[in-house]
């Protein structure tokens, strides 16, 4: 028994290192956001300030445009997540259940979209969206983000559909249901973990997107959180407390979504890996 103590200790120590490395930046973000301004420089490298305050949060919520940015980001990410999940469950189902002539072309097209640099599209998309009045608008961002996320979400949903026996909808169709009814009432409820994972993935992706938001949005009204935070940085580069308070708030929805789906993360991928 005594022999196994050393490896266990090394194992726990290594894990502790990873936890510290993973959490330290976030801890520092939280720490500075709670440090009162007068202690910010005098207690610069202390692990925890001698006094904490919520004044930065209060200021950001009451006197800045961050509530608007937050609302914009929630609208954009939420709409994108819902739109992508609906579209990708349809296309994922098609790839999982049908064999049709152009299937490999469709898969190839979707793989292609994962390979080329999206930054290539910054200029042409701006040029296309401007005459349509979709620059500086949340709708434009939702359309662009939805298209970007559909291919990956399709593959994700397909892997979940592949895990469900085909006999289920065949039985329903023999009983007289159309394929679409069978899909909606029997297959979709069984893929709820997949739907949750897709929603989470896409929401986080849209919440984080920066380059297209910077390019397509200017002005505060339609700014999402990343755009708002970066313009805030350049305008008030001295007020670290407020920026980090805003940063913590930007982190919350993404972290919540992550905690909800993280148990499915490895599970879902394992299911995919076993088949592949």
């Amino acid at each position: 028994m005594r022999r196994s103590i050393l490896p266990v200790f090394a194992h726990r120590l290594a894990i502790l290192c990873y936890i510290v490395f993973a959490l330290f930046p976030l801890f520092w973000l939280l720490k500075v956001s709670l440090t009162p301004n007068d202690l910010l420089y005098s207690e610069g490298v202390r692990m925890w300030p001698s006094r904490t305050t919520f004044e930065h949060y209060a200021f950001v919520l009451q006197h800045s445009a961050f509530p608007v940015f937050f609302k914009n980001s929630v609208i954009v990410s939420g709409s994108t997540a819902i739109a992508v999940t609906i579209i990708a469950s349809l296309s994922g189902y098609a790839l999982s259940r049908f064999t049709f002539r152009t299937k490999y072309w469709i898969v190839g097209l979707m793989l292609l979209t994962q390979m080329f640099p999206l930054v290539m599209l910054v200029a042409p998309i701006f040029k296309i969206l401007t005459p349509l009045g979709l620059t500086n608008s949340l709708t434009g961002l939702v359309v662009v983000y939805t298209a970007f996320n559909v291919p990956f979400a399709t593959f994700l949903m397909q892997s979940f559909f592949d895990g469900i026996p085909k006999d289920l909808e065949k039985a329903a169709m023999i009983d007289g249901a159309t394929r679409f009814i069978a899909f909606r009432q029997i297959i979709l409820p069984l893929t709820l973990p997949g739907i949750a994972a897709t929603l989470g993935f896409v929401f986080t992706a849209a919440w984080s997107e920066l380059l297209f938001a910077l390019m397509l949005i200017n002005g505060n009204n339609a700014a999402t959180f990343p755009v708002g935070l970066l313009t805030f940085v350049s305008k008030f580069s001295v007020d670290f407390g407020q920026m980090m308070a805003a940063g913590v708030m930007a982190l919350i929805p993404a972290a919540l979504f992550f905690l909800l789906i993280q148990r499915y993360l490895v599970q879902g991928l394992t299911a995919g890996a076993v088949k592949g």
Binding site: A14, I15, Y18, I19, A22, L23, P25, L26, W28, L29, V32, L40, G44, V45, I87, A88, L90, S91, Y93, A94, L95, F98, F100, R101, T102, I106, L109, T113, Q114, M115, F116, P117, L118, V119, M120, L121, V122, A123, P124, I125, K127, A147, T204, S208, L210, L211, L214, P226, L229, L230, V233, F240, G247, L251, A254, F257, Q262, V266, L269, T270
Partner: protein
Amino acid sequence: MTSRQHLLPARLTATTAMMPPTGTILPMTTAFTSSHGRRTRKPFLAQLADHAEPYLYSAPALILIITVMLVPLVLGMSYAFRDIQLLNPFSGGFVGLDHFRTLSQDKAFSGALKNTLWWTGASVVLQFTFGLILALLLDKPFRGRGMVQALVFLPWAVPSFLAGLNWAWLFNPVIGPLPHWLFALGLIDQPGNLLSDPHHAMWGPIIANVWWGIPFFAITLLAALQSIPRDLYEAASIDGANWMQRFLSITLPFLAPTIAITVLLRTVWVSNFADLIVVMTGGGPADRTQIVASYIFTQAFKALDFGYASAIALVLLVLLIAYSMLIILPRQTLLNKG
């Protein structure tokens, strides 16, 4: 594919040709023919619907991908040969290969190419190494594993712009601890900002990228690890194999396909990933951290020179395709031989 195209009409004409002689008992025979025969006699519209069904399901996805990604991609390629500047209303004409001529003499671009190699190589190697170690640490069940998993995977959920800002703040001597720690360890002469040091600035975004990307590798590799049949390990330990032998002869071969595909895809992805650099350094100081992707963005976003930005993008695309071919082709030929 072409053979299937011919098959279908042939079968249809065969059945219609057989029908007239059967005369009055036609309804009876059709009722008793096999399901195969009945299918061909479905009304034309129903048949069309059957064939259209997969397309109907995938149509919304396809329409979006084609209009929002494929059309701009082609349009962007045409920009590479045109003079397109957002603030200049007289621009728009074709300039042939002018952009590429400028590009070949652009010092910032050749610097960006080198930086891209360095950024991608260092990021992927470090992310992969630490990700693999983490996946191995998390593979065996232990008390509190679910909790640990949630904590160490958390950086993956942090939005990239926030990860960039967060690390930029950590490197900032006014507000962050890192310069003071590095100074205390004697690694730097004075607690200055790493991100404004032209010789070492690239390490800033790389470290942020490693922090942010370890969970991706750990999640994928852990999933692959968990799909390895456990009894293989049991059999190996009964036969007296030690940890290292089991790792080399069971774990690695099982992981190899996952490793190959994730490293390949991640390399392409990281080389295109400009967020951290745009946020942390903006390519500076003096273009020392500018990678090709961030250079494209800077040209489009700051200089508003869409033509030149698209020309750089086209070169990047060609390089990425060449890289993928370099990886895929030898593999294909090996597979074909075997």
